[in-house]
Symmetry: C2
Subunit: 148 residues, 2 copies
């Protein structure tokens, strides 16, 4: 692997560490038994809309169908989502976000406000947010080149 290759490898290493550290910060704040993966799904439904099929969600998160089945079962047990049969495809289902799920998401977001504020205060506006465009570009590339 050449010089630039090692740098790219290093980049993903840093990404992994940041993800780990940030995940620990957020996980500690999540309401009672809510797991990061559960919150991530709620966040997805709130941001990009619900009424998705389980398979579409599994694909969006790049996880096996079985994992999504499990995550959806947990959230349904908490009444954060509702699973309805697909209107035109008998094999499939549709995921609906419930009011309780919306509230759970809002509570989770609120619980993260403090650490987020501290991080922005300490690092200064822009230190983090200036990187978003480049990261979006990389994310979009990786997303369009799965199974590389």
């Amino acid at each position: 692997m050449d010089e630039e290759g090692r740098r790219v490898f290093r980049f993903f290493n840093e990404i992994g560490i940041i993800n780990q550290l940030a995940g620990a910060i957020f996980a500690a704040r999540l309401p009672d038994g809510l797991h990061v993966s559960h919150f991530a799904l709620l966040n997805h439904l709130v941001r990009l809309g619900d009424e998705k099929t389980p398979l579409a969600l599994a694909s969006a998160f790049q996880v096996p169908k079985t994992t999504m089945t499990h995550t959806l079962a947990v959230l349904e047990k908490r009444a954060a989502i509702r699973l309805a049969p697909h209107p035109s495809d008998g094999r499939s289902k549709i995921v609906f976000l419930t009011d309780a799920g919306c509230k759970l998401h809002a509570d989770a977001i609120a619980s993260m406000a403090d650490p987020i504020r501290k991080i922005t205060d300490d690092l200064g506006d822009g230190t983090i947010s200036d990187l978003i465009p480049q990261l979006e570009k990389i994310r979009a590339y990786l997303d369009q080149n799965r199974g590389i």
Copy 2:
């Protein structure tokens, strides 16, 4: 949460997705049953030196001690590491990287060369590596501010 707060949240969101997508790419290339967490530990020992205690490693990866016990047990069973009693503290142990572990790490790195090369070729030199300094800064900050 204010405007900048939402951007920071978004940043960590992008980080998480990139980590997920990159992890999937690398996991698919790892030698037989090697898990990403196992490789991460090998990588740490190679990059920053071995002869660490299990607790120090658990702390470095921000995982519970029990998780590290498990990971070390797996790598020891594969003879990639060796656990020796701590010379001055009877409660503790020292982790040594074996030759086999070094080779396993080298093999894993080599197996990732292809996707890394494709990524650099497609995105262009610098697109990724230019971000490293800022990410290092953010990582160092989060590292020094655990339990925020």
